[in-house]
Symmetry: C2
Subunit: 212 residues, 2 copies
């Protein structure tokens, strides 16, 4: 089972590494980090690089496609024809096509979210409609074989759900225990619904400075 | 504020990337991925490499030390005198010294957990006592300026707690919203207390094959 995780300069590391950590535990999983050109890709913070061991052309027919988001670099990727063509073709034969965070904007730019419900990082929700998708305020949104996840950390929940669909709930629970995913956040401000207004305003300012 | 995240061949990516994603949002944070020698370090799955931009000697006095865990490579690191010496010296002047998952075994090997409570990945809990530490079944365990976190994903919770200690609860909540950390796992088997016996047995077998 070939899993292709797309990376590019400006992606957010946890968007990619959350699903990677879960999906790499699946039986027969072969995880490949792919990019337009193989080599190091810098994350949006610029403090970290991950290696794409493969170029897109090396993995034309992955079983699972994972598109992480990011900030400015993601917007660049939404206009990169090489990336968009690869996603469009990979999606034709994939079993699952997925995104995390603003990765759904890249998916959207290929046209495959047209008329579908989808999610993204809360800050970017208004961007989805320009790709014909309907923003849905769920953490994980499935439309057939397409699954989009909300911001950054939501990729872990998405991947566990996907693991259950692929290998059964027992295996997904084994993976959850292996990564000791018993989340106990010390605060309860992880969504627009739960955070205080003052927190939302500060987060919006911070996101805007990263994103625009 | 210099944050040093140690990586080494065989580390687990999410152990490092969870805290990185949180701590890099802190005001004035300068996150550095460090290793014995700078360059690419392969994760325990062998499917991914992260780049250590700095060698240990470049960051002798970080404000925050983060030690991620892993599987076999972690046990190798517990015997690497260069790594242990760096941690011991960094700990003398650090504001916070932290570990995620089996990273606490590396901390333990330096002697600094002697007589303290600590946590680690559930599979490795019996290893802690050989370093004079007392395993504690909490997700995040603080002893003065030392904080240890449970397996893999627990580093996110640990880092949010730490963010609150460093920059205040408001900032920690802003970061939680920025990474949309409103965890909604589709199953509830993320700890030994919550998982079914059959799931625990399967996970133990899988962990054993990775770890030994």
């Amino acid at each position: 089972m070939d899993i292709a995780i797309l990376i590019y300069d400006g992606f957010t590391a946890l968007d990619a590494v959350g699903p990677y950590e879960v999906l790499s535990c699946l039986p027969k999983a072969k995880v490949h980090f792919v990019a337009k050109e193989a080599g190091l890709k810098r994350t949006h913070t610029k403090a970290l690089s991950l290696s794409a061991d493969y170029k897109l052309a090396d993995l034309p027919n992955p079983d699972i496609v994972v598109i992480p988001g990011g900030t400015k670099g993601t917007m660049v990727a939404t206009k990169d024809e090489t990336i968009l063509d690869w996603i469009k073709k990979a999606h034709m034969s994939s079993k699952w096509t997925t995104s995390v965070c603003t990765g759904s904007l890249i998916l959207g730019a290929t046209g495959i979210l047209q008329g579908l419900k989808a999610t993204t990082h809360w800050y970017a929700k208004d961007y989805l409609s320009q790709f014909g998708a309907e923003y849905t305020n769920d953490r994980v949104v499935q439309q057939g074989k397409i699954i989009t996840a909300a911001g950054v950390s939501a990729g872990i929940d998405m991947a566990l759900y996907l693991a259950g669909e692929i290998a059964g709930k027992e295996m997904a629970q084994v993976i959850q225990l292996l990564i000791e995913y018993d989340p106990t956040p010390p605060f309860d401000s992880g969504s627009l619904v739960k955070a205080d207004k003052s927190i939302i305003e500060l987060a919006q300012d911070a996101a805007k400075s990263e994103f625009e």
